[in-house]
Amino acid sequence: MKIRKEGDIEYRFEHPDDFRRFVRDKKSRKAEPKLFSSKEAVSAFVADGDYIVYDFSSLTRGPQALIREVIRQRKKDLWVCAEFTLHESALLVGAGCATRIDVGFLGYGSYIGQAVCEGRVRVYEWTNGGLALRMLAGARGVPFLPTRDLLGSDNMSVSAAKVVEDPYTGLPVAVVPALNPDVAFLHVHQADIHGDARIFGTNLFALEAAMASHRVIVSAEEIIDHDEFRKDPMRTTIPYFLVDAVVHAPFGAYPGAMPARYEIDLPHVDMLNGIRNDLQMQEYLQENIYSVADHEEFLDKRVGARRMAELRRAATIMEGYR
């Protein structure tokens, strides 16, 4: 039972014991090679009806190559955790892939707002902090976590957050249920073939999401030797036994930026944000996703080496990202 309903409110929830059993029985702890193409990874680990989560922002280190592959494979009835993201939700709804969104931040551009108004997608309001906390609960194996926000707001009535009495102070405290997504997408700077992964810079909840999700697909700018991770354990963001598939995807965050690797392609992002209706949406999808076989063909035919070189040159801030 992964979807629960209370009154009008559906929410994704899995009994912690059920998630634990999945982790015991279905997640290998073996250091095996897990290199997949994005096509293979999405085909193997994303099913219609899945609940998906991704880290970080559309404009910074988002797993755009994987999202495009989900769209290319025309996955259906996805439920999206839209935390701190922008245009992915619009693309996934526009392509008919997503039917429910946990918000988060539902931005931006007018397309996605219009889709909500038209009832083409159902939304629930958990807030960014609420979703991050749900992910932490999922990662810790506890059914809920408490927080001193959400209280008094209308989000409480359009999510399954509840108010309980704190057993120590008697204070009203909000609680949110654990979240254990079906699939997490993480785009990282470096990974090895087993799935050990490094992110440089901040993240939303990369480790929480990897630990809390049934399946984890890592796409990486760079594949490095396993030994590098063991030489520098403080820099490991995700250890391999949480990861199911590793996709080597240079420019995998395009049109967003990958800190210290390449900058945002602002004209492309403007084009995305300019989408106002379905005609424009279908044109965008056709041009950038359906008409190319995979991420590599997209880079060759729709971005091009010259543009990629420009974007790489534009990424001049290296300090701190290593």
Binding site: F84, V103, N128, A132, R148, D149, S153, G201, F205
Partner: protein, 268 residues
């Protein structure tokens, strides 16, 4: 002899916001215009302010120009004190370390409640849908003093928000505490493109503190869909300074994407 300064309403809103920042204090900065306010303030007035972003950048010193739309990029996280993640960011605010929060809004009501979710209709059938809370709900719940930055359009100031995304004083004095929100927190200022509001200590209702130089306070409030309280003396806010405008136009937003708006003028 006084010069006349020309500027957009957005420029004025950003400039007066930047002047409100208190040096050596912590600011939890929301997405969009609040980012620009914080950058302008830090560059010009409060170099030792500590910005916090919900994605875990603690104390960045942004690189200019500002890249519109972005928050987590290398420009906005440059030279941070610490890079963490979202659950840690809200630990800083939850444990009381954030002096100020700064948020945009679609609508605001007399108690400083913020709507950033939808306008018109119902939640399931809204007339216009917007981004929702993001981390705004946490910022408005946890920070000691929340500053709301909003365009001065009458329809944005409503007796009751269509959706209460981020809490102000809810239904009035004591309501936040009764709901379980951290004691002693709440909205502090509303910075608009024409005026500055505070909140009355007793009633917790929005109160006009000052207006842009040259504007008549009665004109400023006449379009608002609720009647704000009026401070005993309504102050006068100088228009953007040359240096504020130069920085905004030449260094922060040279593409003029963010600072565009309705043209205004006032005597320097």
């Amino acid at each position: 002899m006084s010069r006349t300064i020309e500027f957009t309403d957005t420029e004025f809103m950003i400039a007066q916001g930047a002047r409100l920042l208190e040096d050596g204090k912590t600011f939890f900065v929301g997405w969009g215009i609040p980012q620009v306010v914080a950058i302008l303030g830090q560059k010009l007035y409060v170099p030792d302010v500590i910005q916090l972003f919900e994605f875990g950048a603690v104390g960045p010193q942004s690189v200019l120009p500002f890249v519109r739309g972005t928050m987590g990029g290398p420009q906005n996280t440059y030279r941070s004190l610490q890079w963490l993640n979202m659950n840690w960011a809200f630990a800083y605010s939850g444990s009381g370390y954030m002096d100020y929060g700064m948020l945009g809004a679609l609508q605001v009501d007399p108690y400083g409640n913020i709507n950033s979710t939808y306008l018109g209709g119902t939640f399931r059938k809204p007339e216009r849908r917007f981004a929702g809370s993001g981390g705004g709900n946490q910022v408005a719940s946890h920070c000691w003093k929340t500053i709301i930055v909003i365009k001065h359009e009458g329809r944005r100031f409503v007796p009751r928000v269509d959706f209460l995304t981020s809490p102000g004083y809810l239904t009035g004095p004591g309501a936040r505490e009764k709901a379980g929100l951290p004691a002693g927190t709440g909205p502090y200022r509303v910075v608009t493109s024409k005026a500055l509001f505070g909140f009355d200590g007793e009633t917790k209702r929005m109160s006009l503190l000052a207006v842009l130089r040259g504007l008549d306070p009665r004109d400023v409030v006449k379009d608002m869909a609720f009647r704000p309280m009026m401070a005993k003396e309504i102050g006068e806010i100088p228009p953007p300074t040359d240096e504020e405008l130069r920085l905004l136009r030449e260094e922060i937003d040279p593409s003029r994407f963010l600072i565009r708006g309705e043209k205004m003028s006032a005597s320097a």
